[in-house]
């Protein structure tokens, strides 16, 4: 038996405090549920979330610092053990190679984001992911841009290959992004080939489901899903993912349609905050115009090449 419990035992005062704290908790939960997002408890929570975002970003720093420290210790051990100039030089070269690889990876990631911006015609800044949700039930990330940088709630967030979520709240310097895979997320989408609209919803399993399609519309595996812009929550024409399975059930004529997201936030370090996006029709029209413009040029080039060949053969024949 625990001696402390035997000696002291729960006093009536302690029981009273216990009951009082339970009541306070329940009152807080009730008030939180009834008040709006501008209520006092939400405001206090917002202040705490700002502070926790700062602590969370320190975590990312600690992670990289620990990595650097580990590398430093490994380097120090190597030079002590060998005492060889050649080995030291080797370590330096390795360090340089490691740094170069890191820069290369970062450049590739940023190039991917740039390509995505150009391909989808979006405008907006690149943000670094500085934190991830500390609650298992919540799938969100924190980025290092806030309202001071023009970020607003509801803005779409892009990874290097597609939509990953939406800004759910902002502070002056940071923003919280609710990921598309969160159980409470949803985006109005359409099947790119058939233009039929539906809703992509996240789930507790982290899988995206395509729901609310028109009766009888069954997409095929591989169909690309893009945002439709309906409801105004997400910018139109941005790639969400592709259909990976369609399981038709008796209870649902369109079945259970699983969409594989194009991008996983777990692997990302930078994202694009979409300030504005070109309309998909405009983008497609522009692409068609460019293709049409490119065709005569190509034909012209081939004609020129034909003339050159003829001239060359004529000259050869003359000789």
């Amino acid at each position: 038996m625990n001696p402390l419990l035997q000696q002291n035992g729960p006093s009536p005062a302690r029981n009273a405090v216990f009951v009082a704290l339970l009541v306070v908790s329940l009152v807080a939960v009730t008030v939180y549920g009834r008040e709006g997002s501008t209520g006092p408890l939400h405001s206090v929570q917002h202040i705490f979330s700002v502070a926790s975002a700062q602590v969370n970003s320190v975590g990312a720093g600690i992670g990289s610092a620990a990595e650097s420290a580990g590398e430093g210790i490994a380097d120090a051990t190597a030079s002590d053990s060998t005492l060889s100039a050649l080995r030291e030089q080797n370590e330096q070269l390795r360090q340089m190679l490691s740094n170069a690889e890191e820069y290369q990876k970062e450049a590739e990631r940023l190039q991917g984001l740039l390509d995505m911006k150009q391909a989808s015609g979006v405008t907006g800044p690149v943000a670094h992911i500085i934190g991830r949700s500390a609650n298992a039930w919540d799938q969100s990330i924190t980025i290092d841009l806030g309202s001071d940088d023009g970020v607003q709630s509801g803005m779409t967030i892009l990874g290097s290959t597609g939509v990953i979520g939406q800004v759910s709240s902002t502070t002056a310097k940071t923003s919280t992004v609710r990921l598309l895979t969160d159980a409470n997320s949803g985006a109005a989408v359409m099947i790119q080939s058939s233009r039929k609209t539906g809703i992509v919803r996240g789930s507790i399993t982290g899988v995206l489901y395509l729901e609310d399609l028109d009766e009888g519309v069954i997409p095929e595996v591989g169909d690309v899903i893009v945002t439709s812009g309906l409801g105004g929550s997400y910018q139109r024409g941005l790639i969400v993912g592709a259909v990976v399975s369609v399981n038709k059930t008796a209870s649902n004529s369109t079945g259970s349609i699983v969409v594989s997201p194009n991008d996983s936030a777990a692997l990302l370090e930078e994202v694009i905050v979409v300030f504005s996006a070109s309309d998909i029709d405009a983008v497609e029209k522009q692409a068609a115009e460019e293709a049409a413009r490119a065709q005569p040029e190509a034909e012209g080039e081939s004609e020129e090449a034909g003339y050159e060949d003829e001239e060359r053969s004529y000259e050869e024949g003359g000789e």
């Binding site: 402390l4 035997q6 339970l22 306070v24 979330s49 500390a134 298992a136």
Partner: protein
């Protein structure tokens, strides 16, 4: 003036919150992540039940609710209730074996995770109870239990080695 025992519990509580904010997000595995606040509260509930009574779990739960999102008061309620019950149950069933504190601690963790999940479902979390239990409550509970057992054994051994407050710590047999 706070006793060294209480200071240690406060320092531990601050560390638990920091670990939750800084480390836990990077330990996410198949959607589950450990909850250091729950782990720490349950360890205190079975090893130092009278150190702070219901106040410490309440404050820790409230800080979790405010800093990590979710309905304010949900974790505070769950931690206060189940840590109190865990310490009460443990005082009755303790038989000076290693199994009993771990079993009580584990039960407290499971009920706290379940209670918090139910609160979230009541607040409109888009999942049914079975999925919530299968995909969040149980995986998170397993994560909590593994870390809880490791930390419990470490802290118990630490207190035994230092000899400080050895009468408060469960003896291992």
């Amino acid at each position: 003036m706070l006793s060294p025992d209480r200071v240690a519990v406060i320092v531990g509580a601050v560390l638990a919150v920091l670990l939750q904010l800084v480390l836990a997000p990077y330990l996410r595995l198949f959607g589950a992540m450990p909850n250091f606040v729950i782990v720490y509260t349950m360890i205190v509930a079975v090893s130092r039940p009278q150190a702070f009574g219901p106040a410490m779990p309440f404050v820790l739960g409230l800080v979790f609710d405010l800093a990590c999102g979710g309905p304010v008061g949900a974790m505070a309620f769950s931690l206060t209730l189940f840590s109190y019950l865990a310490s009460k149950v443990f005082s009755v069933v303790d038989n000076d074996t290693l199994f009993m504190p771990i079993a009580v601690m584990g039960l407290g963790m499971l009920l706290t995770e379940l209670s918090y999940g139910i609160f979230l479902l009541l607040f409109g979390y888009a999942a049914d109870l079975v999925a919530a239990i299968g995909y969040r409550v149980l995986p998170c509970f397993v994560f909590d239990l593994v870390i809880g057992v490791i930390l419990y054994l470490l802290t118990t051994r630490l207190f035994r080695q230092s000899g400080a407050g050895h009468h408060d710590v469960i003896s291992l047999r």
